[in-house]
Amino acid sequence: MEAIHSSGMNAAILTIVTFLPLVGAFLLMAMPRKDRALKWTALIVSIVTFIFSLHLPVHWSHGAPGFQFVLDVPWITSPNIHYHMGVDGISVWLVLLTTFLTPFCVLVSWKSIHGGVKEFFVLMLILETAMLGVFVSLDLFLFYVFWEGTLIPMALIIGMYGHDRRVYAAVKFFLYTMVASVFMLVSIIWLYVHTGSFDYVTIQSAIQSGSIPGFNNAAGYLFFGFFIAFAVKVPLFPFHTWLPDAHVEAPTAGSVMLAAVLLKMGVYGLLRFNTTLFPAQAHQNAPWINALALIGIVYGALVALVQPNMKKLVAYSSVSHLGFCVLGIFTFTQAGVDGAVYQMLNHGISTGALFMLLGMLYERRHTYEIKEYGGLATTMPVYSTLFFMIVLSSVGLPLFNGFVGEFLVLSGAFKAWEWYGIIGTTGVIWSAGYLLWLYQRTFFGEVTHPVNERLHDADGRERLSLIPMVALALIMGVISPFWIRMIDPSVEQALRPSTVTAARWKPPTSVGGSDASASRESGAKSERRFGAGLKASGAKALFRGSTLTRCAEAQLSPDKSGGFHPNSYRRAGEATAILAMVKAGK
């Protein structure tokens, strides 16, 4: 894999972004216990981190699929560990998602944390460093350090600042993820012992060249070791049981971080390690992984539907939404994986915002029970409007970000196997069901509890933390190519080794990626069918001229950074199919 080797600011930027919050944490530790000063410092540190992280998209070299802003220096000689950092189009947005959300997490915790304010913000900033580290590490050991590093601050945030059953939830969260990641550690050490390196790029090329003795026998176990760690984190059905507990008991900022970033670490890990290091095993195991993802989508949605507790409802909706991400990755289609990455960002924004909204309601009434509310639209109009926008984004209404991600994932799923798409699509319907029903019961109708009449609307701080989220959900729905353009080449590259090695085994059905032309044909077929459905639903007006058209056009046109994009040839058929479909819709 070719990486762009950087120097100067470009080499240092990832280190700065990753460790700035940690420096802030030390600063907070040294400060006296004056809550106001502590909060402001935390806020400023997180905002400065975000500003620094903007360096990444601004100085991005477009069209390059490999890692950028790479810094690779030897760290420990025995064992051979490198301080190797870098981001590609997939991880760069996860870094930005993390840095973008942290200031809001600080803001929503402004008034809700009582006692131990200092420790809370210290933990928050340490957690940010650990999460950023997970996304930028290209050395498996470094990755593992950060991966475990997220565990302790998160468990402490849940256990110290959570609700009544916080200790149970914190311990459950810790044990689940800790035990699962031990399997990953075993896999990592196996790879180290047999390649003499922890370096991701080195290990990947060693695997591809087939130069590791005994790899073929062990690969299945190694794949499973990584898979179990990530599947618990995602969480994939049936490893999801820690999630509702952790979410319900965590304080608002903890839930936001958990849903928006920590779960993404699992999906990111599946994409980064499972599919690119072990492509053959990934293809072999794709059917049952996809089955689990589909079960997660439907089961999560059904359980969400019957929850009396809104936080639990949103927690189960995460199980369902994350199922889409996993499904997208294990279709091994360009659209599916693009969509999975995009859906990770969408879920971060929309579910993060949902948890913030619920936290605000909780600060007023100290309950998450849906039956305690009703008719809030009249007493809290601004809050209700913002809530509605976020619900629409989460449901995946066109014009909002959720639509783009889900559409791409589902089009990839249809391409891989029609039934993946058909079952997956029901998830969209379910999510509309439980979220809109939640909205109806909470905000519409008469005010059933007198106490709800006196609730005050969102104040300045709350609006300040919500409006950017809503705006971003809209922007990401309208100009998605801005993001896709950077995601695309890296996904293309991530899929390539699987295309190569996939030839060694016989695909059971016409799984996409194994045979380009066949997949293109079947893809076009399914997209036509899907397009027809959309036409019937009357969504064509919204669809016209929107993201996907531009997306498809961008892929056909010469690359803006100069030269014709190599991907364009391969995916010309795909893009033409989408264009034709959209034009037919006119």
Binding site: S78, G116, E119, R166, V167, M178, I189, V193
Partner: protein, 500 residues
């Protein structure tokens, strides 16, 4: 100068002895109220001077004193380690002595004299001198163990330690005698060549059977000192009763020194009988890990829990002894350093938290410590995470090197036992963290405010930083450990293994 009377070879021992004598002499002249602090600072400087002295030795390594002392990277490593442990323990003791209302400047002098013994253990290459050094360090710790004179538990602890300790050193001495009988010498290098050639210096054949028995008996003696199963039974009782800072010293200093002796004997003298002691050490390692962790699971007293945990850690360390020697010895040496940092730190927190009369040593007493005393809680968290073996702490690399060495030596079963044990261990360490941070403080006035005193804070910060440093940059210590490991072997073996 006559090379046999080179005083540089025993410079740290001389410095520490003189300092200890000076402490004893100065103590009566000081007013009683301020005696603790000034004597403490004076002794602290003494340990620093000893560290400087051993670093000075590194310019001129070699054998001295009629072949009884050997100064090399191995001994310097342990000198610096043991003197640092004593320095930290002295720092952590300042306030402890005040709160426990213990008078007596000889406390610091005893620590210094004990350190002389431990330091000598790591540089001695002659079995009788090793025995004398072992006794010097043991007698000092026997006395230190009973320093809470008013508490019955402390006296019990001291007596137990003394009786069982004397018994164990008798085994060691018996082993030395048999080894002399078998090979005609007590010098480690002469024994080594005698065992290799099968001929004693006098030209008579070596009795291999006698040598095996001798190694086994010496292992019993040292096994007691390092609290390895099945010679571990004294540990929880002694640690529970002894003053907490003394436990910090006992569980690391003499242990490190005893491991140094074990390394010298097993790898320096009797390497080619390794097939004989392989299973001895293997079984002891497996037993120590398992019994230590199971014992710790059942404890409610933090001191006892840490006592069992130290048994388990002795087990992990012994795993490195049976691994391939080119990587195993370095791993073992690194482990002693890393274990010393985290364990001294953990006991320092315990010593401060237990308050006068050591009342608060149960796990439930720790509830809410995270809110009440963030520095103590945060540092204790670091030490416990390191004891678990979480990455980015010294404990992780210590375990990593040991089990990596074990795996590369095809010790699959020992590795599995070790890893399963590490997983079990996580439970009882985490329990303390959960209680500290997630439980409300118990009612009771004197528990509410707990300010970390300056000496203790310094000790905690230093040990915490070292623990993290070993987890982030283990290279320097590991390199030095590996260089020491090479020096450990007899000359013939040294040429076979080059430093990495």
């Amino acid at each position: 100068m006559n090379p046999d009377l080179n005083y540089i070879r025993i410079l740290p021992e001389i410095v520490l002895s003189l300092w200890g004598i000076a402490v004893m002499l100065i103590e009566p002249m000081l007013p009683q109220r301020s005696a603790h602090k000034s004597l403490g600072i004076f002794s602290f400087i003494g340990t620093l001077a000893a560290i400087a002295a051993s670093l000075y030795q590194s310019y001129d390594p070699g054998v001295g004193w009629f072949g009884m002392i050997r100064v090399d990277e191995f001994s310097i490593f342990f000198h610096v380690l043991i003197c640092s442990i004593s320095a930290i323990v002295i720092l952590a003791s300042f306030e402890y002595l005040e709160t426990q209302n213990i008078r007596g400047g000889e406390y610091f002098a005893l620590i210094l004299f004990g350190t002389v013994g431990m330091v000598l253990m790591s540089s001695a290459v002659e079995l009788v001198l090793i025995f004398i050094a072992l006794e010097i360090s043991s007698i000092a710790t026997y006395v230190l163990a009973c320093y809470r004179r008013n508490a019955a538990a402390s006296s019990e602890s001291s007596i137990k330690y003394f009786l069982l300790g004397s018994f164990a050193t008798a085994f060691f001495l018996y082993g030395v005698a048999l080894m002399f009988g078998a090979t005609g010498s007590t010098s480690i290098y002469v024994i080594s060549s005698a065992l290799q050639s099968g001929q004693t210096v006098a030209g008579t054949p070596v009795s291999q059977g006698l040598a095996y028995v001798a190694v086994a008996l010496m292992f019993v003696g040292i096994g007691f000192k390092v609290a390895a199963a099945p010679f571990h039974v004294w540990t929880p009782d002694v640690y529970e009763g002894a003053p907490a800072p003394v436990v910090a010293l006992m569980s690391t200093g003499p242990k490190a020194a005893a491991f140094a002796v074990l390394l010298r004997i097993l790898f320096g003298a009797t390497l080619n009988t390794s097939n004989a002691w392989f299973w001895l050490v293997w079984i002891s390692a497996a037993l120590s890990m398992t019994l230590g962790n199971i014992g710790a699971l059942l404890q409610n007293n933090v001191k006892r829990m840490l006592a069992y945990s130290s048994i388990a850690h002795a087990g992990y360390l012994l795993v490195a002894f049976v691994a391939r020697r080119d990587i195993g010895i370095g791993a073992a040496i690194f482990y002693t350093a890393s274990y010393a940092a985290m364990n001294v730190g953990a006991f320092a927190v315990v010593s401060h938290f237990s308050r006068s009369g050591e009342r608060y040593v149960n796990i439930e007493d720790y509830s809410g410590l995270g809110r009440r005393s963030p520095v103590l809680a945060a540092t204790l968290t670091i030490f416990l995470l390191s004891l678990i073996g979480i990455p980015a702490t010294g404990g992780f690399f210590a375990k990593f090197y040991v089990f990596n060495a074990a795996l590369k030596s095809d010790l699959i079963w020992l590795t599995i036992i070790g890893l399963v044990n590490s997983a079990i261990a996580a439970y009882y360490y985490l329990r303390v963290i959960v209680v500290m941070y997630m439980y409300e403080p118990l009612p009771g006035e004197d528990r509410l405010q707990l300010r970390a005193a300056p000496g203790l804070t310094a000790a905690l910060v230093i040990t915490a930083l070292v623990t993290i440093w070993l987890g982030v940059k283990p290279g320097m210590v590991l390199d030095y450990a590996n260089r020491g490991a090479v020096k450990l072997m007899p000359a013939v073996q040294q040429s076979m293994i080059s430093p990495r």
